[in-house]
Structure formats: C-alpha cells, structure tokens
C-alpha cells in the first residue's frame, strides 16, 4: 500500500482531485449544477472581449457564488507576448497569482507550443505567478518546466475536446516515474470517467476537464460520475494494484478439488 499524500497546488491543499471547466454548458444553471455535482474545488475561467459587458458580470457572479478557487487560463494565445499579457490581465481581474498557461502551437490539434511555453513560464514565474502549464506528454519538456520552478505540471491526455482519453499512457507513466514529487494533473482530452480513473490509478494527482462533462447528455450526472471515478482511481493507486502476469493463475484453491485427475 502506498502513502496517501494530500493533493497540493503551490502549497494549497485540496480534497477534490477533479478540476472542472466552466465552458460549453447548455445553460448557466446547468453549469453551476454540474460544478456542484462534481464536488470540484477549483474551476477554470478566462477573459474575453464582451459583446454585452453585463454578461461578464453575470458569469463572474455565478462563479463567485460557487465559492470555488478560480484558475484563470490563457486559452487561445499563440505567442509569449499574448500569453504574458493575458496572464497579467487575469491576475488583476481574478485577484490570483495562479495561471493555467496555455500557449497553442498548432491550430489543427491545439497542441501546446513547447518552446514558447518554456519562455512564457520563465517570464511569469519571475513575475511572481504560480504557473500551471498545459503541456504535451513530453518527459524532457516536463523536466525543463520543473527546472524553471513549476510546482504543478498539466500534460495532456489527448488534444482538447477530443474525448479520446490517455493516448500515450507510457509517456504519462514515465513523467510520473521521473518526477515523483511533482503535482501532476492530466489536462484535456478525457471523454469518460474511466479515463479519469485511469489517470489517477497511474498516480496522477488530479485531472482537469471540461468538455467531457459539459458535452454529456446530462452534464450534472456526468459530473457526479467523474467525481466517483477520480475517487476510485485515487483509492486504487493508494491500494496498489496487483502485479500483472502473462500466465493465468487460478484464484479458487485447487487443493481439495473434486474429480481431480479422475479422467
């Protein structure tokens, strides 16, 4: 059995290992209901130009009413300058040093730009931000981000919004193995609760997702399902799974087996 360490983000401890997004829900009511059903303690938000300024106020009030910790993102940024500017704007509006640093390198699969990500991370860390970089599942990139001072890394499971699950479990496992003390969160690409459960079973500290809940037929029920899956995955990791074997081994005792070798 493994030691059950608390889930921490830059020194702050959380019970829930499910971080939830606030986008794509069919209505504001469904959003808040799903957030509550997920039992998440951290919700992601962003900044954009508003067509109607009051829309931003209404949304922000709903989020504040949840009482959850807010994690702003730099979604949609394609350059270091854009990401740094948006991070600073987020810090002022949301009054937090946390930033989910998202820097897109490819428009087709929304893959993070690893080189720009390192540059932006360095700038923001030096400026006092607590950076949670959304990155690919590249071990060396994760090691470089850790060397810069990141205390949390968020490698993708699959491209954003695809729902494909953990496309490369080997890479994710290697990151876990090589960075044993790092808080690791699988961010993006999850589709069903078993994907989240798998990530937690592998020893990932948490998962961050949005589309899998918001895009479900019933987001509230799916939020509840993800909450259960995350708890199951973490419990399984702590319990430590049996070693996998290549050859069958009977679970029912053969001792006292009737008709043994009578034919």
């Amino acid at each position: 059995m493994r030691e059950d360490k608390p889930f921490t983000i830059y020194g702050q401890t959380f019970e829930s290992r499910l971080l939830i997004g606030s986008a794509l829900y069919p209505s504001p009511q469904v959003m808040t209901d799903a957030i509550h059903a997920s039992q998440s303690q951290i919700v992601t938000v962003s900044l954009r130009r508003q067509n109607s300024v009051s829309a931003g106020q209404d949304f922000w009030q709903l989020i504040k009413d949840t009482g959850l910790t807010v994690l702003p993102n730099t979604a949609g940024c394609h350059s270091v300058k854009e990401a740094v500017t948006l991070a600073n704007m987020c810090r002022e509006v949301f009054a937090t040093d946390w930033i989910k640093l998202e820097l897109i390198g490819d428009e087709y699969n929304l893959q993070p730009d690893p080189i720009a990500l390192l540059d932006a991370t360095e700038i923001l860390l030096q400026d006092g931000f607590k950076v949670l970089p959304y990155c690919t599942d590249d071990l060396v990139l994760c090691q470089r981000l850790a060397a810069l001072g990141c205390e949390v890394l968020m490698p993708w499971g699959a491209p954003i919004g695809t729902g494909k699950g953990l496309l490369n479990p080997y890479n994710l496992a290697m990151i876990r193995q090589r960075l044993p003390d790092m808080t690791l969160i699988v961010d993006a690409g999850l589709g069903v609760p078993s994907h989240a459960c798998q990530a937690l079973e592998m020893g990932y500290d948490a998962v961050l997702l949005n589309s899998a809940i918001a895009g479900a037929g019933c987001p509230v029920k799916m939020a509840r399902a993800f909450n259960h899956a995350v708890q199951a995955g973490r419990a399984a990791y702590i319990a430590q799974a049996m070693p996998e074997k290549d050859v069958a081994a009977p679970s029912t005792p053969t001792m006292g087996m009737p008709f043994w070798h009578q034919n």
Partner: protein, 64 residues
C-alpha cells in the same frame, strides 16, 4: 485620432486611457491592455493615448 477598441476602429479626442474607458459602457470587472501590453488599472489615468493606439478591455468569461 483613430483608436482601435476591442477590434473596432473609432474616433476619440480623449487624452488618457482612463478618460477613453470612461466614454465606453465598460463595467467592472475588467482589465486593460494597450497595444498588446497590460496596463494596471491604477496606471490608466496616467497612460496617454496616441493616434493608432489599440485598446483591449476584457471581462470574465467561461473557460476550460
């Protein structure tokens, strides 16, 4: 002078960033960038505007 505000080009005679913002219907909470650089709210009054400046005024929205 021509100012681009949230992507829309408009005429303005305001001399400071804060004075310009006060002519819009912007309501809290928001943050401001001028020509792609973040401008803290406390500095908006002392930030002059010039011909061709581009202002972004952003507010909270849903995010993943």
């Amino acid at each position: 002078m021509k100012i681009t505000f949230n992507g829309q080009v408009m005429e303005s005679s305001e001399q400071s960033l804060q004075a310009f913002i006060s002519t819009t219907d912007a309501k809290e909470p928001y943050a401001v960038a001028l020509n792609g650089q973040f401008v803290p709210r406390v500095q908006c009054s002392s930030t002059p505007l010039a011909e061709g400046d581009s202002i972004e005024l952003l507010s909270p929205i849903q995010g993943g």
